[in-house]
């Protein structure tokens, strides 16, 4: 049955995307935890952001074909991953260039 087959294929694809999401979520969560602390070691946050960004890129690169609720959900998840990819990259650039505003007066 062709319908079952495409459904099964989509399950695999959506699972792959979710796996990359999960990995990215864990890495970026670690980065954020460090980054949100004023005294956190920013060079460590940089490394975690980089790992997270790589996972987001992998998840976004997966092509979602077809329509239906599940394909739409996968695409919506990818859209959110794209948003976070851009935001993480912006944050990473700030940290790398040392342009992060310091709260304390020097």
């Amino acid at each position: 049955k062709p319908e079952d087959r495409s459904c099964k294929e989509h399950d695999d694809i959506s699972e792959q995307i979710r796996n990359h999401h999960k990995q990215a979520f864990e890495y970026i969560s670690v980065a954020l935890k460090i980054d949100e602390d004023d005294k956190g070691p920013k060079e460590q946050a940089v490394q975690w952001y980089k790992k997270g960004i790589a996972e987001l890129e992998k998840g976004i690169a997966i092509e979602v074909t077809g329509n239906g609720e599940k394909a739409d959900k996968s695409r919506r998840l990818q859209d959110k991953m794209k948003t976070n990819l851009l935001m993480s990259k912006d944050r990473l650039d700030l940290l790398v260039t040392g342009a992060v505003p310091k709260k304390r007066e020097t």
Partner: protein
């Protein structure tokens, strides 16, 4: 309440689904097992991505 009575069931269903979607819930209990898992999993993932966006935005707006 006349408003409730005159609102078509299809609109109510649609609204319920939108709300459930936003809350990361899945109302469609008739989905076979295994498919349900993947749909709920996608909603959880979606919520987690939103959380990252919020935290990244907070850092960005912090001066």
């Amino acid at each position: 309440n006349t408003t409730t009575l005159t609102t078509p069931q299809s609109e109510v269903d649609l609204l319920m689904h939108e709300m459930a979607d936003e809350a990361g819930l899945d109302l469609n209990m008739e989905l076979p097992q295994g498919q349900t898992g993947s749909v709920v999993g996608a909603s959880v993932a979606s919520t987690e991505q939103d959380e990252l966006s919020q935290r990244l935005a907070r850092l960005r707006d912090q001066v």
